[in-house]
């Protein structure tokens, strides 16, 4: 690993001023569970590491009906997995965490670090996009909110200026008539998804037709892939197997997956179809049960 200088600010304000001082040569580290793997291979060689693991006031999980769920950037994966607040108000996140890496990684890795890493194979970004979440970002000029969907620019590239810090994930309250699901293709529990999917289905309370649907696929493009054209096929209709198949086929044609030792491009395309169908059907079932 290359040498770097190191700062461990104690407050958000201090962190931003350190980041501003090192002008783009700095890299924020929190749990470092993704970052250190890259640094050890010298694929990432920051001049300065700004360690925010000790920043106060960013480690929380809270919920109110009005504001929805608020998760501080420093909340660990384990904290989310075990939180009674999450289990009660957004259980899909706990289910997702159960399949995210292993205990040791979840104990040290944080949600903020995960979503800022920008790995298109990661699970949390897809679930947050399906849930229509926003990220709160602090910088020298104050705070801004960005939709999770707009945050991902390219492979490992996100909408974060060198002097900005992601502080919070804001998840709106899941409507009473909606169901959310996540699943991924894994050779072994805890693996990165060879292909993954997250979906939120909102049903019309009386007709049972699909009022709204948000479907996101992972590891099939350079960013999380929002399957908008698949969604269009489902909105306004009573979802059935035939429509799901059509939606899945559309996505399998639109995605641009990598080809590697875990799966060829063709295989991933087909799995995009399968997982879009499977996860949307699961979200649909959950929405029906809630009615």
């Amino acid at each position: 690993m290359k040498d770097f200088s190191y700062a461990a600010p104690k407050t958000v304000k201090e962190a931003i001023s350190v980041l501003a001082k090192v002008k783009g040569d700095g890299k924020i580290m929190c749990g470092g569970q993704s970052m250190l793997v890259l640094m050890k291979q010298n694929m990432l060689t920051p001049e300065h590491v700004v360690d925010i693991k000790g920043v106060s006031g960013l480690n929380y999980i809270r919920y109110s009906e009005k504001e929805g769920l608020r998760i501080g950037a420093l909340a660990t994966h384990s904290a989310i997995e075990k939180s009674p607040i999450i289990k009660k108000n957004c259980p899909v996140l706990a289910e997702m965490e159960d399949n995210l890496a292993v205990v040791q990684t979840r104990n040290w890795g944080t949600i903020g670090g995960n979503v800022c890493h920008g790995d298109p194979a990661a699970d949390p970004p897809s679930v947050f996009i399906a849930l229509n979440a926003k990220y709160k970002i602090m910088g020298p000029h104050g705070e801004r909110l960005v939709a999770a969907e707009d945050f991902y620019k390219d492979y490992l590239e996100v909408d974060l200026e060198p002097d900005e810090l992601l502080c919070e994930v804001q998840v709106p309250t899941v409507p009473a008539n909606a169901g959310v699901a996540h699943d991924k293709l894994m050779a072994q529990k805890g693996d990165m998804g060879i292909v993954g999917a997250a979906a939120m289905v909102t049903l019309h309370p009386s007709t049972g037709a699909c009022e709204d649907v948000r479907i996101v696929l992972t590891n099939v493009a350079s960013t999380p892939f929002r399957a908008r054209n698949s969604e269009k096929v489902l909105i306004g209709k009573v979802i059935d197997e035939k429509l799901l198949e059509e939606a899945g086929k559309i996505a399998s044609e639109e995605v641009n997956p990598p080809s590697d030792v875990h799966g060829s491009e063709d295989y991933r395309r087909d799995m995009a179809r399968v997982f879009l169908k499977r996860v949307t059907a699961k979200a649909l079932e959950k929405a029906k049960q809630k009615k």
Binding site: A8, L36, E47, V103, T105
Partner: protein
């Protein structure tokens, strides 16, 4: 600015440790190379095998994937700190008695994952035990014996 040494103070196996480290020093390097605590194993070094598992503030974590400076002010326990002097910890005792050992390379990591589990959950189910050691690979696939030994240890610790 580079190479500057950082002050690091933490509790290691019940003792206060104070030293200076390079920011890029991994916790695993600090433990094995500087402090000569070689019970924590160097395995894959990419967060895949769990051989380097230690307990930080009572939770299982991977020493190969944590900067040493990050344990400042925290409590670290390694395999060397598990037994009470000459008296083995019930987890170690159960593993010895039950033959839960193959080549032994993954054993210290398994003990540390089991220790963290039993600190949090005194009566784990078999599923919970499996989940707790999910991140610990045994190249000899000696998992069943480990699971059974952890079950025995949990019972022994409850006085059963």
């Amino acid at each position: 600015m580079k190479e500057e040494l950082r002050d690091l103070r933490f509790t290691l196996n019940g003792r206060e440790v104070e030293l200076k480290v390079k920011p890029k020093t991994l916790l695993l390097e600090l433990l094995r190379e500087d402090l000569k605590l070689t019970g924590t194993r160097t395995g894959c070094e990419v967060s895949a095998c769990g051989a380097c598992t230690v307990n930080i503030d009572g939770k299982a974590a991977r020493a190969c994937s944590i900067l040493a400076v990050q344990v400042h002010g925290r409590e670290v326990v390694t395999i060397e700190g598990v037994a009470d002097g000459e008296k083995l910890h019930p987890i170690q005792e159960a593993m010895v008695n039950h033959g839960a050992i193959e080549c032994g390379f993954c054993t210290s990591g398994m003990v540390m994952s089991a220790r963290a589990l039993l600190l949090e959950n005194r009566r784990p189910s078999r599923e919970e035990i499996k989940k707790a050691i999910q991140g610990n690979l045994c190249a000899d696939s000696g998992y069943m014996k480990y699971v059974e030994a952890i079950e025995m240890a949990a019972k022994a610790m409850q006085g059963k």
